[in-house]
Symmetry: C2
């Protein structure tokens, strides 16, 4: 317990210093990270082999899924992607020390709103060991210190990668305590209570992990637990767009958080549209759930056993007939998770209404929900996808790891003069 | 309990609709609010008189402070300020539906980042009844629904004002449930648990209230509990700036959160500077606390009984001698509250270091900490002052009541084409 506290304090102290590290130094640290990881590839693969040996037993005993085992394994491709990812972050613009806004309050009294790092991030992720390099590079570029808790299955790989990262940051002259590993569940539950030292928690994992974290901390959490995305097929929809979009949104990566879970169809077209949809989905081995009344009309539909707020995360979705776009919007706002929702229509009025009234991070017209992703949005990096209503929403890039401070440059001004009327504010925007 | 739940649900439903209300309609609602309040002045004063009669007994019994009684009383000036405040909000630009960023992902696949309301705010404030009109006008302008809990002492005044506001919003055609009053402590503690319906909590009151709220909710809280502001007098300080700034920062409004609580003085100048500071502060009846060693050197100083993290909120401050700017910065980051801190210096290097390394919402050079205020910053309105490290920091204007959503306009695009390489992203910034 007390050990974690000292790690968190060290990270906090590092974070103050990180705020004034130059872009050049940060990019040097990133370059050293990439080069040193490349040079240590053999060692890292050996450490990974150790983790894999132990994980094999877990798989045999049914304590680890084959998918998790696959994510744990570091092969040549994943290693190259990991190192290339760090080099990509070098190319991104520095999100810190950007002038966001400026106002001349009075002569020689200038106010600047300047972006700055948030401070200390706590990142909890599951088995994938390549995440450690990705998160560390984003933390360095945004001048944030980080506490990293990886999956226990990849502990050897994580330690090997982290040792290289720490060495690289030291070589570049970054403060001690910039990147820190923590190891136990007890450490995580302790970290969630350290709101004095930890400013942001980023869980990277399944919805169970995210829910646990959200329920157990007062620190701001950046993430999403559910991804219940909808596609509404309006009566003015172009079916040649609707069908491929639904197929893409469900089958391109069924377990993704931005995959579609519910299709809503306007009542005026459902009799003709649903049979075509069923044929297309069947061809792609997608199960379709619906309420009994609809199942009675289409024998291929399966009676629903889950609620409308269920995330199938599989080749399965739910189907509902709605009276109009307003019912669709209400359904989405009631059962959705505020992630990404789409309308298929050629009617601009319906499109506008849907986009303004659906309260989600992403509102789409005639495009697959699978586009909800930081790289596809052109951010160059993705910290995570947030369904929060404050700070950052939707796919979050480096900017989401910053906040701002106000810098006021004066020459002795006091408020009394402005209250008494001796002086008055000019409030001229600077640019 | 269940009653509050239905109020919160009604507010949530209203919030979805509010997102698409035009600027004109919102301004009409504000104009009706101001006009109708003006017309109902007599009724409101009568309701206020009722509250004052009851409050008098509380003051006699020592259950209400004279200051709180003063805040409760609505006089002609306060009433005029309240109504003028609403008319000022009409003039502010609409913070909603602003295009913040846009990117062409590919031909006919355009992504827009657009500001939108947060949703439902829960605002808890103490005795001042004029707050209800101020908060309601900011909520309307930013298209947020609001649950308002005022001090129980002003219940009649609040009800009278709120009735006029509700009538005005109805006349303008705003959704039912936009502005809602809640009354009991039980309602507040219930509201703090409704993260599904309430998106942001804004406490407007003393640090005890703010602390209680922060400890009892998982909803984002916008505010500050402490205001422990510092002024550091560098060895290169201009004393003709230092003394007036300290006097202003302490005496212009001693109980304000942006008043100075601790003065740090560079060791090279303290022997000459401290006597001058003592004289100036004594003239203004400010008590000066210090550690025993310093008290031994200056008989006017009083030995400290509180920690360095104590908010005097009175004509009193603490004094400390530091070795250099780095010790000052470390002291501020350790004991400060991240509100507003100032350096007095003519040395640009010290100024820059201080501004970059002090982790506070406001970092000032040669200006009084009392400038930390939304109106003085030129925002035209102030929602509150935040010491959070996410979402909004420092004085918060209307913008702090908004978030954004991503609107994607396509013509049938699917992700599969971009993953397979059939198509590739263009990522051209639009403006």
């Amino acid at each position: 317990m007390s050990d974690l506290l000292s790690v968190a304090k060290k990270a906090k102290n590092a974070s103050y210093k990180l705020a004034s590290i130059s872009t050049e130094t940060k990019n040097l640290a990133l370059k050293l990270m990439a080069d040193n990881l490349d040079a240590a590839k053999k060692n890292i693969f050996e450490a990974n082999e150790l983790d894999l040996q132990q994980a094999k037993n877990l798989v045999v005993r049914g304590e680890l899924s084959k998918a998790a085992f696959g994510r744990l394994k570091l092969d040549e491709n994943k290693f190259r992607d990991m190192v290339d990812g760090i080099r990509d972050v070098i190319k991104l613009p520095d999100p810190v020390n950007k002038k966001l806004w400026a106002m001349k309050l009075d002569d020689e009294l200038d106010l600047y709103k300047v972006s700055c790092p948030i401070g200390v991030m706590g990142v909890i992720f599951e088995a994938r060991p390549d995440v450690i390099a990705q998160i560390s590079s984003l933390a360095v570029k945004s001048s944030n210190a980080v506490l990293l808790k990886g999956g226990k299955e990849s502990v050897n790989t994580n330690k090997a990668i982290c040792a290289i990262i720490e060495k690289s940051l030291y070589q570049a002259g970054l403060p001690d305590g910039t990147v820190n590993q923590i190891f136990s569940r007890e450490d995580v539950s302790q970290m969630l209570k350290l709101e004095k030292y930890v400013d942001l928690i980023i869980p990277r994992g399944g919805s169970k992990l995210v829910k646990y974290i959200k329920e157990n901390t007062k620190i701001a959490v950046l993430g999403h637990s559910d991804g219940i995305c909808h596609i509404y097929i309006d009566k003015m929809a172009d079916w040649d767009k609707a069908i491929p979009i639904i197929i893409d949104a469900k089958t391109q990566y069924p377990t993704a958080c931005n995959a579609v879970e519910t299709v809503l169809v306007h009542k005026d077209i459902y009799k003709e549209f649903v049979p075509i949809l069923i044929t297309a989905l069947k061809k792609n081995e997608v199960k379709i759930y619906a309420e009994p009344e609809l199942c009675a009309q289409f024998t291929e539909l399966i009676p629903m056993t889950e609620t409308w707020a269920y995330e199938y995360s599989d080749l399965a979705l739910a189907l509902k007939i709605v009276d109009n776009e307003l019912e669709a919007i209400e359904h989405i706002n009631t059962y959705g998770s505020g992630h990404t929702d789409c309308v298929i229509t050629e009617d601009n009025t319906v499109c506008e209404l849907f986009m303004n009234l659906v309260d989600s991070a992403g509102v789409y017209c005639n495009a697959s929900t699978r586009f909800a992703d930081g790289f596809r949005y052109g951010f160059g990096a993705e910290v995570g996808i947030s369904t929060n209503k404050t700070h950052a929403r939707g796919p979050v890039g480096l900017e989401g790891l910053t906040i701002y401070k106000y810098k006021l440059f004066g020459c002795g001004q006091v408020v009394r003069d402005y209250v008494s009327g001796t002086k008055s504010f000019k409030h001229e925007k600077l640019d």
